[in-house]
Amino acid sequence: MAVLEELREAVLTGDKDRAVEVTRLGLETSIDPQALIDDAMIPAMDEVGRRFEEEEYFVPELLLSARAMKAALELIRPLLADTGASSRGCIVIGTVKGDLHDIGKNLVSAMFEGAGFEVVDLGSDVSPEAFVAAAREKSADLVGLSALLTVTMPSMKSTIEALEAAGLRDRVKVLVGGAPLSTDYAVEIKADAYAPNATAAVRAAQELVGGRAPCR
């Protein structure tokens, strides 16, 4: 119990060294590795997201917490692979064509990893063709599209159309996010879901594809 609470605190305050130390301790005392994620890291990142929305936390704090979580995950992931519960599904993510904003996308990507998904991050300014190729090659369950510019939102639509044209759309869910978006827009372009922030993105991904196979 104390370990979970301490890990939560370490992630919340972005203390990477402490997060690693506590995780190591937890694993030595044979706490269920999945519990470290589900009962400490995810709730911590939820709280980080809430503080960001409330303007108590700012981008440095977001990135520090994500870094602490990733460092702790490095220790946990091999153990999850041993138990066979290695991945909750394969996600291909990127910022769409013409758009270079990647801070939010990087956070969402880190959160997906934290939640146990396998993530293929294509970076920013990603063409519809590149999304299609990666989705096919990796046998992705979900494609995550990020856009911060109003003028690049149509690239989301073209990416979804390209997935359709490639015959992948019935196998791949599409999640969209980024500051200028809305649920209405997501519906209009036939995405499966819209998430306003990183924790909502994890929840949406879990609902859409939770429990699927890892990337190929």
């Binding site: 972005g14 303007e55 936390y57 700012f58 981008v59 440095p60 704090e61 990135l63 520090l64 870094r67 013409g98 270079l100 990647d102 801070i103 990087n106 970076g123 109003t150 003028v151 200028p180």
Partner: protein, 345 residues
């Protein structure tokens, strides 16, 4: 009253005929003259034509040499990607300061001979030749945090502010050295006012802003004043939590993004501060109606009281419907400017 006189009258507390109008245009201005943005950003003659044409069409009080955040970074040797119809952008994966210690080896180039900075200086000379005296001429520099982000990579810089504050302080100080050299050359070429864009500053939060960014922004503003020019500070994004500090900077114009309630800015800055803005450039100016634009500006104006300049929260985006922009123009034309103090709710 000519645009230049109008803006300077407001800044100096003299009477003026109507509200000054100073929206930021870049891609919108290039589209006005039907030139792809890549050319607008890299050829000062195109930029000057776009600015003058746009200012004339929409009765703006100023013309500006703003184009993209990469001029200083490019001349320092950063990897830049140029696009046919978009602003040039820094390639973050090949950041110039991939290692923090590389800062020690960085030297300020001479802005008058470094190609991308010299192109902006040439734009200002040409603007002075073409519209000097009629319209206020605005130069532009990157603020300390924005340039630091361009050199280090914004994702890395956001961690540095916690891990390596000393490095960030040194880096911001270097950025201000260059900004002041660049500002001097722009003022000599004809700029009446220097705009400072410091987008990344909105991301660090008030404590780190106070410690690392504020002192350098303040030094930059004081340095530009010493050159005999005015300043306009624009920080994209959520700066509501920075208002108490922004109030102490001494910038002539505080240009606010749309997420900041102007009444809070007025309360924090007091009645003397000139405020500019700040309707939502995307949802309202691009996506709304002329009536909505008038109403939005009416709210901003009422909240700001006197010492107010009409504009959007950020760049007037591409594809903004002309009737909406004209509604903004009409708003400025229809309302008397007040040189006197703003109301202080």
């Amino acid at each position: 009253m000519k645009g230049r006189t109008r803006v300077l009258s407001l800044l100096d507390g003299r009477p003026l005929d109507r509200l000054p109008l100073m929206p930021i245009t870049m891609m919108f201005a290039a589209d006005q003259i039907g030139v792809p943005y890549g050319r607008y950003a890299t050829d000062h003659r195109v930029l000057v034509r776009g600015q003058i044409e746009t200012a004339r069409r929409f009765d703006f009080d100023h013309v500006s040499a703003i184009s993209d955040p990469c001029r200083e970074a490019a001349d320092l040797g950063a990897a830049i990607e140029y696009y046919p119809d978009q602003p040039p952008a820094v390639v973050e994966s090949k950041a110039l300061l991939g290692e923090a210690r590389q800062l020690a080896r960085l030297e300020c180039p001479d802005p008058t001979s470094a190609p991308r900075m010299a192109d902006r200086i040439a734009a200002l000379s040409l603007l002075r030749q073409e519209v000097g005296g009629d319209l206020l001429i605005e130069g532009w520099v990157e603020g300390p945090c924005a340039l630091a982000a361009n050199l280090r990579g914004i994702n890395a810089l956001m961690l540095d502010v916690v891990d390596e504050p000393g490095f960030v302080r040194d880096l911001c100080a270097f950025c201000v050295e260059l900004a002041l050299l660049f500002a001097r050359a722009q003022v000599e070429a004809g700029a009446d006012l220097i705009g400072i864009g410091d987008a990344a500053a909105s991301l660090v939060g008030p404590a780190r802003y106070e410690e690392l960014v504020f002192p350098e922004e303040q030094r930059l503003i004081e340095g530009i004043h010493a050159l005999g020019a005015r300043t306009r500070l624009h920080i994209c994004g959520r700066t509501r939590r920075l208002l108490r500090q922004l109030a102490r900077l001494g910038t002539d114009i505080l240009d606010l993004d749309w997420m900041v309630p102007i009444e809070e800015a007025r309360a924090a800055c007091g009645p003397e501060q000139v405020l500019l803005g700040n309707i939502d450039p995307v949802a309202l100016l691009r996506g709304g109606t002329p009536a909505g634009v008038r109403e939005g500006l009416g709210d901003c104006h009422a909240a700001a009281g006197g010492r107010y300049i009409v504009g959007a929260g950020c760049e007037v985006v591409r594809d903004t419907p002309l009737p909406n922009l004209l509604a903004m123009v009409e708003y400025a034309r229809a309302h008397g400017g007040r040189a006197g103090p703003g109301s202080h709710p």
